[in-house]
C-alpha cells in the first residue's frame, strides 16, 4: 500500500513555478523544459497555475524583499507532501546579488530546498534532472 502511494507521488509531480525577482532567463528555460524536445510531461509533470494543485515548487531568482512574504505564502499554500527545487544560480546561492541589501535570499534561507539546479541559466535537461532527482529522493 505504501509503495503504491510513493509510486503515485514519484510518477506525477505537478510543478508550480514562482519567479522571485529572476531576470526571466531561468523562467524561459523552465518553459523550454516542457517543449516537445525535452518533454517534462513524460515523467507525469504538469505545469499548474495554482499552488493548491502543485507538488513541486520551482523557485527562480534571488528572493527580493518584495517577494519574501509571497514566497512564504505560496510555499504554505502547497499541500503536503511537497518538494522545492531552486533553479538557477541566483536561487541556489544568490550569486551576483549576494550581500545586497535588496535581497533576502538565497531561497534556502527562507524555505527548505530539496534540490539545487545551478547555471545562469541552467539548461532544460538540468531542470528536468533536478525535478526528477528531488522527487525521487524525497518521495521514495
Amino acid at each position: 500500500m505504501f509503495r503504491v502511494i510513493s509510486r503515485g507521488r514519484i510518477k506525477s509531480p505537478w510543478i508550480f513555478h514562482l519567479n522571485t525577482g529572476s531576470c526571466n532567463g531561468c523562467d524561459i528555460e523552465v518553459v523550454a523544459a516542457f517543449t516537445p524536445r525535452y518533454d517534462l510531461e513524460r515523467f507525469g509533470c504538469l505545469l499548474v497555475g495554482s499552488p493548491r494543485h502543485a507538488d513541486v515548487l520551482l523557485v527562480t531568482g534571488p528572493v527580493t524583499r518584495q517577494m519574501l512574504p509571497r514566497l512564504i505564502r505560496v510555499y504554505e499554500q502547497i499541500p503536503e507532501p511537497k518538494v522545492v527545487v531552486a533553479v538557477g544560480t541566483c536561487a541556489s546561492s544568490g550569486s551576483p546579488f549576494l550581500g545586497s541589501e535588496m535581497i533576502e535570499g538565497p531561497a534556502d534561507r527562507i524555505i527548505p530546498v530539496d534540490a539545487y539546479v545551478v547555471g545562469c541559466p541552467p539548461r532544460p535537461e538540468a531542470i528536468v534532472k533536478g525535478v526528477v532527482m528531488a522527487v525521487m529522493s524525497k518521495f521514495r
Binding site: 507521488r9 510518477k11 510531461e41 497555475g49 494543485h53
Partner: protein, 316 residues
C-alpha cells in the same frame, strides 16, 4: 445478465475505463505534438497521489458546500455512467433513462462549479459565470438532439430500446435516417463543450483564469473533481456510440446474445469518438471567447438539432 448485477459491476468498471480513456487521450495528444507523452496509466498515478495529499480548505470558503460538492459531482457522474453501462450490458428497460443520464451529467458539472465558487476566490466566480454561459450554449442543442430520438424512427427515450431498434434494423441509427444523422452531428459537436476541452475550455482556461472553479481545490477534493470530469467525458462518448453509432448492430441478432463482444465494440467506437471530438480539437485549435462559443453553438448545432426534429416530423 441480470440488471442489478450489471449495475453493480458497472459502478467500479466505469471510473477505471474512463481514467484509461483519459490516459489514452493524453498519450495521443502528446504523440500528435511529437512528444513522448505521459504513460497511459498517468491518470491513475495522479489519482493516487492526489488522494494521499493534505486537505486544505481556504479561510474564505463556506466549508460544508466546498467539501460536499466534489462528492456530489462524482456521485452523479458515476451514477450516469453506471446506468448507461449497465443498460448496454443487460438490456434492462428503464423508461426515459436517456433524460436521466443527460440530467445527471449536467448535475455533475453544476455541483462542481457551485463547490468551486463557494471557495471565495474571484477566479472561481469568473469560472462559475463562464460555465453557466457555456451550459446555456451547449445544453440546449444537446438536449434537443437527444429529444429528437422521441420523434425518430424508434420513438423512445430508453437506451436499451434504441439499441434493440438498431439491432433489429441491422444498422446504426445514423445510417437509418437523415434526421438521426443530423441529431448525431449536433450531439458530437456538443461533446467538446460539455467535456470543456480546449476550443471550449473557457470556464477552466488554464492560462487565463487558472482552472477557474477548480483553483482552490487540492488533494482529495481535486482527485474527486478529476474523476468526475473524466467519467463525464467517458459517459458522453459512450452515450454517442450507444444511441447513434451502435456498431454491434451490424452483427444482427448476435449483438444481443453476445453482450460482452458488443460492449467491446461499443467501447472501441467511443474511443474513436473521443479521439475525434476531444483529442483532435484540443490539439489543433485555440481557445475561443464566451461570445464566440455561444454564437457557434446557437448557429450550427442548434440548427442541426432543430432541423433533425423537423425532418423526423416528415418521416425523413
Amino acid at each position: 445478465m441480470d440488471a442489478v448485477v450489471a449495475f453493480l459491476i458497472s459502478i467500479p468498471i466505469s471510473p477505471l475505463l474512463s481514467l484509461l480513456f483519459e490516459g489514452i487521450d493524453r498519450k495521443l495528444h502528446a504523440r500528435m505534438q511529437k512528444r513522448i507523452g505521459p504513460p497511459v496509466l498517468q491518470p491513475f498515478y495522479d489519482l493516487i497521489k492526489l488522494l494521499g495529499k493534505e486537505r486544505i480548505i481556504p479561510a474564505t470558503a463556506s466549508t460544508r458546500i466546498f467539501e460536499i460538492m466534489p462528492m456530489v459531482s462524482t456521485a452523479s457522474s458515476l451514477l450516469g455512467a453506471s446506468i448507461l453501462l449497465s443498460n448496454i450490458l443487460s438490456n434492462s428497460n428503464i423508461v426515459g433513462d436517456l433524460i436521466l443520464i443527460i440530467y445527471l451529467l449536467a448535475m455533475s458539472s453544476i455541483a462542481l462549479i457551485v463547490g468551486g465558487s463557494a471557495s471565495g476566490n474571484p477566479y472561481s466566480a469568473i469560472g462559475f459565470s463562464r460555465k453557466i454561459s457555456m451550459m446555456i450554449a451547449y445544453e440546449i442543442p444537446m438536449l434537443i438532439a437527444v429529444i429528437s430520438m422521441a420523434f425518430g424512427p424508434s420513438p423512445s427515450l430508453a437506451v436499451s430500446s434504441i439499441i434493440e431498434f438498431q439491432v433489429s434494423r441491422g444498422l446504426p441509427l445514423v445510417a437509418s435516417r437523415l434526421s438521426m444523422a443530423l441529431a448525431a452531428a449536433a450531439f458530437l459537436l456538443c461533446i467538446p463543450a460539455a467535456a470543456s476541452v480546449v476550443p471550449f475550455d473557457i470556464p477552466e482556461a488554464k492560462t487565463e483564469i487558472i482552472y477557474g472553479f477548480l483553483i482552490e481545490y487540492g488533494g482529495p477534493y481535486l482527485a474527486l473533481a478529476k474523476v468526475s470530469k473524466s467519467v463525464l467525458n467517458f459517459t458522453l462518448t459512450l452515450l454517442a456510440s450507444a444511441i447513434f453509432l451502435y456498431i454491434p448492430s451490424l452483427l444482427g441478432e448476435a449483438a444481443l446474445l453476445n453482450l460482452g463482444l458488443s460492449l467491446f465494440l461499443c467501447l472501441i467506437v467511443s474511443l474513436l469518438i473521443m479521439f475525434i471530438t476531444i483529442t483532435v480539437p484540443r490539439t489543433v485549435l485555440a481557445r475561443l471567447k464566451v461570445g464566440q462559443a455561444l454564437k457557434f453553438y446557437w448557429v450550427l448545432p442548434l440548427t442541426l438539432s432543430f432541423s433533425s426534429i423537423i425532418l423526423s416530423a416528415v418521416n425523413l
